[in-house]
């Protein structure tokens, strides 16, 4: 057995691992594992108390099994027990198990936190280290809640050991990343900044990461770190290669720390203090100089570490974008790397130059490397490097080199990897449009794109060429001629047929004078492609034909014959059939004048941002493209203003799509048809999908519903003082998920509500409208809380004027404070005199517990962790009920949000289910609530589950929400 046993050998573990390795098949492995699991389970359950060593061994075996990819559902308790062991080795295994597996089992979090607390307080640096590692590895919110206050103290305490400080700094960093709200800024922040001066380089290394992350979010607070970082960096770069002893790595002094310091400086603009600024410039120059020195070692580690610092320095130079001299030097350095024999360096140089190209100081310098980059595109063997070359060509493109770059990209496209073709197509299309001086070049380029990579030409690209041709009359004749020629090819891409069909339908007349492209020839050419095309393209061609009827009356009968043929008039596709029928009819009955009007040339499209750019941005993620574009825009005045930076919502900026419909007025004869099943239809859907949720009504009915006549007639207006409560429960329930609307209405009076809630407080405006022309006298509204309700809900109202004129409205304010959770609703009683009769009515005032909800966003993991924590049967209330309204997901979502909880997407593994979380705020306490709603469409039923820490709350929320669906 080859087990290299260091420290304590756990022989049982080694034997087990050997066994697993000797398993010949997956089945054998599973069998062996199951045997082991059974064994461990029986040991854990056995009467005999296990000693610490055995516990450790078994926990370690479980861990091994888990890391092999098998599920582990026990052993957590034993691992937690190990945490409180006094033996380092047992504790260590316990912590490792917790670090790796705690996500899936969190009921023990309290016990774990306790053990951690003890170790942190132990003042034993090894134990403290283990505890801090565990917090940093788990990094959950619960841990942040428990320790985010404590760790800064450990970090800045004078007597903390260096190694503990290092762990504490990174531990805090992890907690800040997961729960920034729980890490309080305070006195400690200034002391943390001074760790940059610490004499222990390990402490500085750890602290710099923490400071960088904190500074990104709170730049003001950490501003002093700039000068400290500069002086630290300066000391490192000027030190001799041996000064820093073990922190020198292959003759490079403290490369990790240098990179981190340079990164920290990128959180800030260039230093204002000239002395600091001068010192930093010196540092950067030194780093650039060192790159020119002969290497101190041939080892790749030496050059990697050295160049890591160099690239980070260049990033900082680019970030500052203020020292032309440094920028140009950086560019030259990268230029050298472009031809380096190390692939990694070529890759990084291409990447880094991309950002340099956007600086006005270095743009020209970058351009000088164009030949090298083009060469890289042709010769690099690694696709990821070629990808970088494409990016760089795109970034360095301007009017002076656009023709060359576009030509090279088109060249490359012929052999490019499939994975990057679409992106290249988009880039070529954008560059061609942006830098077109001569639009014939643009048209040629796009047609080439379709010819070379038709499959990768998205709709945005061909829509765009049509828009441009329509908007620019100087290019229309050329475009018609070019597409006509391109269509001569025996096999041409369907996208070309679309562009060709559209353009000839509009501008075919411009080339019809040439006998080689007479109307009939144009028509026959297009029609020869017809049968090979998909339905949307055929639909488009039919529109071209009807346009031809207008453009070329001489071939009208030929076209009518085609339209009349069975394959058109009786086409199985309704869209095609309908077009054929309608176009045929139109061509038969309409006079020439009408035809000319209906089939007039398309009006110019409004100038908008190219949707291609939006698409590229979406593909590459925000940032990468935007920045370059914006800077470039400043440099180059746009010819047609069409390449403006996208507005924030990329998907909402869409080109008006020519779609499959050629007719400007085309909508008229086609109104009855269903939307064509073409992909252009889906584009429109996309555009609107963003706003769909905003449009979805919050409540099932609009406010008007409340005034429905049956309600008005069912209310009770009695002569006698009555205690009938207007139970109109349905109305009451409608307010559970909304705050404004009409609460009550009869012939005399309308009561409207407007309310707002925040944490445990709320304010409600009640509007009383006199619908008659007669005064109400002795008008007295009173808000009544029952004895049960009184201690839980504080309501304060101001009296209103006892006289309400005919047609007038008075307003009353109710201030609300939720003291503790409550079940009932307060009653609003209104008494007044109208025309000699006494009126008395009562309605429930919709102040419900859920109004004090604050939504809580959380990750799937957190959700399930909490969900499990609330597994006590008393904490859960479930209701299964029949749907009372159509089961529409969007409406349901809106209701859950209206209910007050956060709607958590992608938490429930079943996307049809809805999951929500929030906190009910009362004066005395806060109650965390989780909810899950599972619709069953087939049965038209819902199952609603509420889990909160308080039974009554679960009960009440479940009642309230069940009424909503």
């Amino acid at each position: 057995m080859p087990a290299v046993s260091k420290g304590d050998g756990m022989r049982g573990l080694a034997v087990f691992i050997s066994d697993i390795r000797n398993c010949k098949s997956k089945e054998a492995e599973i069998k062996r594992i199951n045997k082991e699991l059974a064994n461990i389970r029986s040991k854990f359950k056995g009467d005999k108390a296990l000693d610490g060593y055995s516990k450790k061994k078994y926990v370690c075996k479980l861990l091994f099994i888990f890391l092999l990819g098998h599920d582990i559902d026990f052993g957590h308790m034993e691992a937690v027990n190990l945490l409180s062991s006094n033996r380092y080795t047992e504790k260590q295994i316990g912590y490792l198990f917790i670090s790796v597996l705690v996500n899936s089992n969190s009921e023990l979090i309290r016990l774990i936190n306790n053990a951690i607390k003890n170790d942190l307080a132990s003042r034993n640096p090894t134990f403290m280290g283990l505890a801090l590692h565990c917090i940093a590895n788990v990094g959950s919110r619960e841990m942040a809640e428990a320790f985010a206050g404590e760790i800064p103290k450990i970090l800045v305490a004078g007597d903390t050991m260096d190694s503990v400080k290092q762990s504490a700094a990174l531990c805090l960093l992890r907690l800040y990343r997961t729960s920034p709200d729980l890490v309080p800024m305070g006195d400690w922040t200034s002391r943390v900044v001074h760790l940059l001066n610490d004499q222990h380089l390990g402490v500085v290394t750890a602290a710099t990461s923490l400071i960088t992350t904190l500074a990104q979010k709170n730049p003001e607070e950490f501003k002093t770190s700039v000068s400290l970082a500069v002086s630290r960096l300066s000391r490192i770069v000027t030190s001799a290669s041996t000064d820093l002893q073990d922190y020198t790595y292959y003759f490079v002094p403290a490369p990790w720390l240098s990179v981190k310091l340079l990164r920290l400086l990128q959180c800030y603009p260039p230093p204002e203090d000239p002395a600091v600024r001068g010192r930093l410039t010196e540092c950067l120059e030194t780093i650039l100089n060192k790159a020119q020195e002969p290497p101190k070692s041939k080892k790749v580690q030496h050059s990697n570490a050295k160049n890591a610092v160099l690239f980070e320095a260049i990033s900082l130079i680019i970030h500052h974008d203020s020292e032309p001299n440094l920028l140009v030097r950086a560019c030259n350095q990268l230029g050298q790397f472009l031809q380096h024999r190390e692939t990694n360096l070529r890759y990084l140089a291409l990447e880094s130059m991309c950002t340099l190209a956007s600086s006005e100081f270095s743009h020209e310098a970058v351009k000088t490397h164009i030949e090298t980059v083009i060469n890289a595109l042709k010769t690099e063997r690694d696709v990821s490097v070629r990808q970088r070359a494409v990016d760089l060509l795109y970034a360095m493109c301007d009017r002076s080199n656009a023709q060359q770059i576009v030509a090279e990209m088109l060249n490359y496209l012929e052999t490019a990897d499939y994975s990057i073709r679409e992106e290249i197509v988009l880039k070529v299309a954008i560059l061609a449009e942006k830098y077109a001086v001569d639009y014939t070049w643009y048209v040629d380029t796009i047609l080439n794109l379709i010819r070379i990579a038709g499959d990768y030409v998205s709709e945005e690209v061909w829509y765009r060429v049509i828009q441009i041709v329509i908007n620019r009359d100087d290019v229309q004749g050329y475009a018609a001629k070019t597409v006509f020629e391109a269509l001569q090819a025996p096999a041409c891409h369907e996208n070309l047929v679309k562009v060709g069909g559209y353009i000839l339908g509009e501008f075919g007349n411009l080339i019809a004078g040439d006998p080689r492209s007479s109307p009939l020839i144009q028509f026959n050419l297009l029609h020869s492609k017809f049968h090979l095309c998909s339905v949307p393209t055929r639909a488009l061609l039919l529109s071209t034909y009807i346009k031809f009827v207008n453009l070329f009356p001489e071939i009208k009968t030929t076209i009518q014959d085609v339209l009349r043929s069975d394959s058109q008039l009786k086409n199985a596709d309704v869209e095609l059939q309908q077009r054929a029928v309608e176009y045929l009819r139109l061509s038969t009955i309409a006079s020439t004048d009408i035809l000319a009007t209906v089939l007039e040339e398309m009006p110019p499209f409004p100038e908008r941002e190219s949707s291609i750019l939006a698409k590229l941005k979406k593909k590459k993620g925000p940032g990468t493209v935007t920045d370059l574009e914006e800077i470039k825009k400043e440099r180059s005045s746009d010819m047609n203003g069409s390449a403006e930076p996208a507005s924030v919502n990329a998907s909402a900026v869409s080109t008006p799509s020519p779609s499959a419909d050629l007719l400007g007025l085309g909508a008229a004869p086609l109104t009855n048809s269903a939307p064509p099943p073409s992909s252009s239809g889906s584009l429109l859907v996309d555009v609107f999908s963003d706003s769909a949720s905003a449009v979805a009504p919050l409540a099932p009915g609009s406010d008007d519903n409340f005034a429905s006549p049956d309600l008005a007639s069912s209310e009770v207006v009695s002569e006698e003082p009555a205690d009938t409560v207007h139970d109109a429960d349905e109305l009451f329930h409608k307010f559970v998920c909304k705050n404004n609307g009409v609460l009550f209405e009869n012939q005399l009076l309308q009561i409207g509500l407007k309310s707002e809630f925040r944490q445990n407080l709320g304010r409600m405006f009640i509007f009383y409208g006199n619908k008659t022309s007669t005064q109400f006298l002795n008008f007295t509204p009173t808000v009544i809380c029952s004895d049960d309700l009184q201690p839980s809900l504080n309501l304060q109202t101001k009296p209103v004027d006892p006289t309400v004129d005919g047609g007038a409205q008075v307003q009353q304010v109710v201030n609300i404070e939720c003291v503790s959770d409550f079940m009932e609703a307060p009653i609003l009683n209104i008494q007044f005199r109208y025309g000699g009769t006494f009126q008395n009515l009562s309605v429930k005032l919709p102040i419900t517990l859920n109004k004090f909800f604050q939504p809580t966003e959380m990750s799937s993991q957190d959700f399930f962790q909490r969900w499990k924590q609330l597994s006590n049967p008393k904490q859960e209330v479930q209701n299964i009920f029949k749907a009372k309204h159509p089961m529409d997901a969007e409406i349901t979502k809106a209701k859950i949000i209206g209910f007050g909880s956060a709607l958590l997407e992608e938490v429930d593994p079943n996307p049809a289910n809805f999951v929500g979380a929030g906190i009910i705020h009362t004066k005395t306490t806060q109650i965390g609530c989780l909810l899950r709603l599972e619709p069953n469409l087939q049965a038209q039923m819902y199952r609603l589950t509420l889990r909160t820490s308080k039974e009554a709350v679960s009960q009440r929320l479940c009642e309230l929400l069940s009424e909503q669906f």
Binding site: K6, G69, Q92, L201, T205, A206, R381
Partner: protein, 152 residues
């Protein structure tokens, strides 16, 4: 750094360290995808690749691939040297480390990594200091084992 994976040429995962919260399902999916992607690459290819919105930095040592996922602004070359330093640490600790050492002493591989990287950031770059921490712990273990006598 978002995570680090060690896997063999056969695609067997030997070590996984996650610095961002992910579900077990996501972790398995990511691992499968990345192991496939990296194993499919030819030698001599660049050590960096774009993957989702992350940058992958990987390097092969004998039969093992070391693979790190870093964020957009992170430095690729220094990450490559993080990998190398970790390999050096393992090598020094085990004495000419091989894949079997990491299989049979996986817990040690995790402990060493925790001393070197914490929360996805470099904690201590000095080889001496990292190994000192681990060896001190081992000493603690050994003295305790002696107390304990022979157990298996």
């Amino acid at each position: 750094m978002q995570f680090m994976l060690l896997f063999s040429r056969q695609g067997k995962l030997r070590l996984q360290k996650w610095y961002v919260p992910l579900s077990d399902k996501e972790k398995k999916k990511i691992t499968r995808e990345l192991v496939q992607t990296v194993l499919a690459r030819k030698p001599k290819m660049c050590s960096f690749l774009e993957w989702r919105d992350l940058k992958i930095v990987y390097k092969r040592y004998a039969s093992l691939y070391f693979c790190c996922a870093i964020e957009d602004q992170d430095n690729e070359l220094i990450t490559l040297e993080i990998i190398h330093r970790y390999v050096e640490l393992l090598d020094k600790y085990f004495g000419s480390v091989c894949e079997l050492d990491i299989i049979f002493n996986f817990e040690k591989a995790y402990f060493i990594l925790d001393e070197f990287l914490l929360g996805g950031e470099v904690q201590e770059t000095s080889k001496k200091n990292v190994l000192k921490a681990i060896e001190q712990a081992d000493l603690l273990q050994e003295s305790q084992n002696e107390d304990w006598g022979a157990t298996s």
